[in-house]
Symmetry: C2
Subunit: 194 residues, 2 copies
């Protein structure tokens, strides 16, 4: 429990002040414990960041792959639900989103690899659904790996600019990006972006 | 000329070693001048980075807006050519690509704003062509601002993973991404991704 609380408070501090500007002492103060208690759970600041990144990516992969591997639903339905989950989780847990964020440079190479391995697991599950949809003629795709990259890069872009205080709600963004995604996939019938 | 040479060598060093790990002395050595000669041209390291970022974005905006504002060509043709330019310039001048790169955190806020102002100029020119194509019924779009974001985020993603040593040539990537772009725009007739 304390471990989880440390990760949560540290995530917010890293996100708001930056990794370099946050000390172990700052994190301990935010949790209301001593630095020595914190060192009982984590060797250093980098280890806290690593735990946050891996924990987030594990949850992200777990939630999305349940949908992506649910063969009782059509590939189109699975993509729709994945777009929703991708954008919702990225917004809900923004401070924990280390992969694809400059804060990831606070991790060493081995630590970054752990997070990237989980990212690859998600990527591959999306690619498999795209491939299945293409085989089933729901989609119309020539290059499956590149279509997967284009789709995920487009979705990952949203977290860089989306603000809850902006003109569109997250639900509206999700509707539009679902339509963009189905268009990239050449989903038939071609969906409106409205 | 010396100023340009300093920027060129510094760009490569920042790109290869990181901004923090590169000193004024390293840059001067790479150019073959003394640090004091370098200080004659730039007050500090940050100013070199700022000059690189603004110089790159000015060139990028100049090259792309010539195409984007060329009303003798259809919006579809202008988008095709812009996708090609966007991906080609981003690859050719990768070390100078500070905007959207973690190295941008080496700039202060005012310096970053200069680069972002130029990025916005490009963004707005793309948005205008999308809007013109929609009005001319070449495209089929409900939300012009969001379509512009989706398209540019997708294109910006390429520089994160494209390697010249990879399985696809840049020309092949450009072909595929042109097709993805036209699909997002609902270009009619719906183009194949092949």
């Amino acid at each position: 429990m304390l471990r989880g609380k440390i990760m949560e408070r540290a995530g917010v501090l890293f996100y708001e002040r930056g990794f370099a500007a946050t000390s172990i002492r700052d994190i301990a103060d935010a949790v209301g414990i001593s630095s020595s208690t914190l060192y009982h759970h984590f060797t250093n600041k980098q280890e806290v960041l690593h735990a946050i990144a891996v924990n987030f990516m594990r949850d992200f992969v777990a939630e999305t792959t349940v949908v992506l591997r649910d063969t009782s639903r059509t590939p189109t339905e699975r993509i729709r639900e994945t777009v929703r989950l991708h954008l919702t989780i990225s917004d809900d847990r923004r401070p924990e989103l280390v992969v694809g964020n400059p804060i990831r440079y606070g991790l060493d190479q081995a630590q970054r690899r752990d997070a990237i391995r989980l990212q690859t697991e998600y990527h591959d599950a999306v690619r498999d659904v795209i491939s299945q949809g293409n085989a089933a003629k729901e989609f119309d795709i020539v290059d499956i790996p590149l279509t997967t990259m284009a789709l995920l890069d487009m979705l990952n872009g949203v977290r860089e600019w989306f603000r809850r205080s902006g003109p569109l709600s997250l639900d509206q963004i999700i509707d539009r990006y679902t339509a963009f995604s189905l268009r990239i996939l050449g989903a038939s019938p071609a969906p409106s972006t409205g």
